[in-house]
Every structure is written in C-alpha cells, then in structure tokens.
Symmetry: C2
Subunit: 300 residues, 2 copies
C-alpha cells in the first residue's frame, strides 16, 4: 500500500521521514517543491507536483500544513486531494486547524467515497523527529482502526476523541491551557525577578509545587539562558488562539482569559517577536519592568 504526505515543514518533514524509515512507500508533495525533492532523493520517496497526484497515488494521505486556509486549499482547492482521491481512501489531516473545516472536508470527501479524520499532533519538533508525538483523532471509529497502524511510526500516544473535529477540539484545548500558562509564567517570573527572587530558585520552587507544569519544565531553561530560537513560534500560537476563540464563539463558551492572552501575544508580535519561539512573549513584560528573567545565582 502506498501512503502520501503533503506539507514538509518543521513537523511534516520528520513525520514523513519516519513513515519512510518504517518501510512504507510514500508519495510526497510540499508547497516548497525543493523540500519534496530533498525528501524524495534522501529517502526514496516519490516526488509529486500537486496534492492531486499524491491523492491519485496513495490510499492513505496525510497532511500537515500551517493553517486552515492552507489545509482547505490542499484538500479542496484546485489540483487538491479531492480532485484525485480514490474511493475508500483515508485522508488524515495532522494540521492544527478549525474544527469547522474538518467537518467541511469530511463531507466533501464522503461524496467521493473517501474518508477524513482530523489527527492533530502535539510534541513540537523533538516529538516529530523522534516519532514520539501525541496524536488526537476525530472521526469514524472504524476508519480510525484502519489508520492506526500507520500512525505508529509517528506517534507514541494516540487518543481517539470521538466524532469528526473532536481531535482538533482536544488539541485546541491543550494549546489553550498552554498559551495561558505561558502568559501566567511570564507575569509570575517577571514579578518575582523584579522583587529580587533568583528566577532559577523561583523555577525550582514552582517545580516542587502545584504550580509545576510541563510547559515550565520545557521552556524555563530556554528563557533562563535567553534562547528564543523557535520550537513553536509566537505567530503560530497567535493563530491557534484565534481558532480557540472562534470555536468558543461557535459553541457559546466565553473565553475571557484566552481572549486577553491573544491580545498579549499580539503585543509580542507587534514588538517584532512573531518568528521567535512563543516564550519570547516574556520580553514584552521584561522591557516594561526593566528586568530580565535569567539566572543570577552564583552557580552559573
């Protein structure tokens, strides 16, 4: 069986490579053709010039792109998956996009006898490279059972969340909590540092309290050594928060904290941090408070 992979960015490239290294045949396309050529040459993937060609070649088509508009274009646009998809094929979209798009894509593909699952992933670049992503799945349970073995090379943990769009809802909820937590971390650490508490000690205290979190363990060391190179950019966080707020509006759930967090992320973008890691948002507060969250202890 031939698989397909569309979108070979920070996440997609290593995910596709893991499928190839697990022994699958893979037809690949990327908006930047050079990336698809590179993967085709390095790992013997089949280069395709359009999403349609991938859909013609593959029975299971993965995609992982940047936003809802891109997913929409690749799936439903001209020379898109819909134009080439075979009856019985499965399209699994790993992008973090609007749940409403997932429902539209599923309906359109169903008319051609094909299936759609939303399969967004979490775990950042290291998870994509190591094949240790967490994957959240929405869609028909029987189709998910067919897809499951092909998720194996990419993900360590796979959660079936229910009907179409619910994988995306789970992913957005996770990012909602993360994005607010990051802003809370920023406020807390700038305040403590400004008061004179060693931020390294503060983080140690947090790590030993109910305020500990995966986000702090992962990101605090980067902040302390002032490394804002991108694992997940401020720009993408801003996009994801937009999806959360749209979803809240659709479902009638007010999200006041998340709404404010989006505006604070907007401040960071306006200050020029769009393409740095999302933890660069702390620099906005630091500038105002006149302090930097970095180790001041004698240890370092």
């Amino acid at each position: 069986m031939t698989l397909g992979f569309l979108g070979l960015g920070i996440m997609g490239y290593p995910m596709a490579r893991n499928l190839l290294r697990a022994g699958h045949s893979l037809a690949v396309w990327s908006n930047t053709a050079a990336k698809a050529r590179r993967l085709a040459e390095a790992e013997k993937a089949e280069f395709c010039a359009t999403p349609k060609q991938v859909a013609e070649a593959a029975e299971i088509v993965f995609l992982c792109v940047g936003d809802t508009a891109m997913s929409e274009r690749v799936t439903l646009g001209p020379d898109g998956i819909l134009d080439g998809v075979r009856a019985g094929s499965i399209v699994a979209d790993c992008s973090t996009v609007a749940p409403s798009y997932a429902r539209r894509a599923a309906a359109a593909l169903a008319e051609k006898g094909a299936h759609f699952l939303d399969t967004p992933v979490t775990g950042s670049k290291p998870g994509a490279e190591g094949g240790t992503l967490t994957i959240m799945v929405g869609g028909d349970a029987a189709i998910y059972e067919k897809l499951k073995p092909y998720l194996e090379p990419m993900g360590k943990q796979v959660y079936y969340c229910g009907g179409i769009g619910l994988g995306l809802h789970a992913k957005l909820t996770q990012n909602l909590i993360l994005s607010n937590l990051l802003q809370a971390f920023n406020e807390g650490l700038v305040l403590a540092t400004r008061a004179g508490v060693d931020p390294e000690l503060m983080i140690e205290i947090l790590n030993n309290s109910a305020a500990r979190s995966g986000m702090i363990s992962f990101k605090a060391p980067y902040v302390l050594r002032r490394d804002f190179s991108t694992n997940f950019s401020t720009r993408w966080m801003h996009k994801d928060i937009g999806l959360m707020l749209e979803t809240g509006a659709e479902l009638g759930v007010p999200l006041p904290l998340t709404g404010l967090t989006r505006q604070l992320v907007q401040v960071a973008i306006s200050e020029g941090y769009a393409d740095e890691d999302m933890c660069s948002t702390i620099k906005v507060l630091e500038k105002i408070a006149g302090v930097e969250v970095k180790s001041i202890s004698k240890k370092s």
Copy 2:
C-alpha cells in the same frame, strides 16, 4: 526552649500540633480561644489569652493567620507580639500577606532587638496535616539558620529566598501562576466538554502533554466528581490575587492576565462560591455554556 504559635485555623492547628508532637513546648493563642483551649487540652500546649503572652513565654514565635490586617494586629496591635517580645526572639510569620507588611514588622521588632522572618507555606491542608509543607523564607540568613530546625516538623522542603519579604514574593508568584492556571483549566475544560470531548479523556491527554500541571492532577478529580468542598477557598484566592496586584503596582510590573483572573474570581464570589474550594470558579462558565465538566465515559 519554648516555642509559640498564633492562629490555629485550617493550616495553623495541624502545624502547631506537629511542633508539639516533635516534642517542643508550645504556648498557643488563637482568635477563637476555643481552638487554643482544644489544642492545649489535647496535646499539652500552654494556653495564652493574648499574642503578647505568647511572645513573653516563647523565644521563637510562629504565626499563621488569614490576611495582612490580622497579621498586622497580632504582631503590632494592642496586646500584640511587639508588646511582649524578648530581645533575641525570632518571629516567623507563615501567613500569606503583603511583603510591605513584612518589612514594617521586621523594622518594628528590630527596635526591641527581636527578629522577623517571612515564612509563608504552601501545600494546603494535607501538607499542613502531614508535615510536608513547602516553606519559603525571607529575612536575615543567620537568623534563618537558627530557625531552620524548628521548621523541620512542619515542612518537607524549605527554600531560603533572600532578604525580608522575598519568601512572600516567591509564595505570591506561585499562587499567581496557580490562579491563572485554574482559570485556563476552567476555560479549556468547559470548551472541550461543550464540543463533546469526554472531560476525563481530555484530562488524560493534558496529563500526557506540556499542558500538564500539578494543579490539574490535584484538582481535576475533584471537579470530575463535582466535589467543591474546601481545601483552599475562592475567598482566600481572591485575597491572594489582590496581594499580587498590589505588589505588581509597587514594583511597576503590569499583570494583565492576573488582573482579569481576579475579576473572574470576583464573579464566582458574587455567584455565591466564596466559601467553596477555588475550583468552584468553573461553575460560572459551566452555567453560561450549559454544560458540566464531569465524567461521561462508560467506565464510571
């Protein structure tokens, strides 16, 4: 050496009892005299009618009360600690109160040759009962070294944070992150549940992601079984967030998310949840969204 303990509430009573059970002599006072009599009878503590009497009897005086006004009255008010304190004594305030009060108390006690340390604690009722609190200390390092052995029966981990008030700053930062995290959890879980994701599954996904946190591990099971009995009340969280915002204003650090969180906690108080656990704040959003975050899986 005789120790003293002032304030025998949810936290103070078990903390004082742990000092007694470690073999220390203890003079006790409580605003509710009955509590001090109960401890005196049950554990052979020495009952005192005023804070002053405790200060006259003890060389190390602990206090653990509800807010800055109470700490101020017990320490500096009529028949307070200051009126009876001996030269060389150490006053250790375990309450979560304003860092500016800590500086005032330290200055007033210094005039009588006595020492003050801010020693706020974290770990809630279970930590107080089990002697496993985390204690954050601000004040003179040499005085802290003298106090240290007497913190042993109450705390598992003790962090020396620096000069006077810095223990409180560390505590407030921890609560700042916690309080925002709780609101983020509320928004995320209500949104996911409203969308149709099983909240129990959602929490499992969170616990296996960077969005995991000590707060979620601790509080989510209570929310899922709709148990809002008080470990830490909405009222006290509102008070603590007020201290964070005052501190931010003093130091010139804007805390936008924390400011909004306080208003959301105010909504919960206005809705009648002041004396329930702080996780009852989720009920405000649930009511608006028309959904309850409780297990819907077949397992339970």
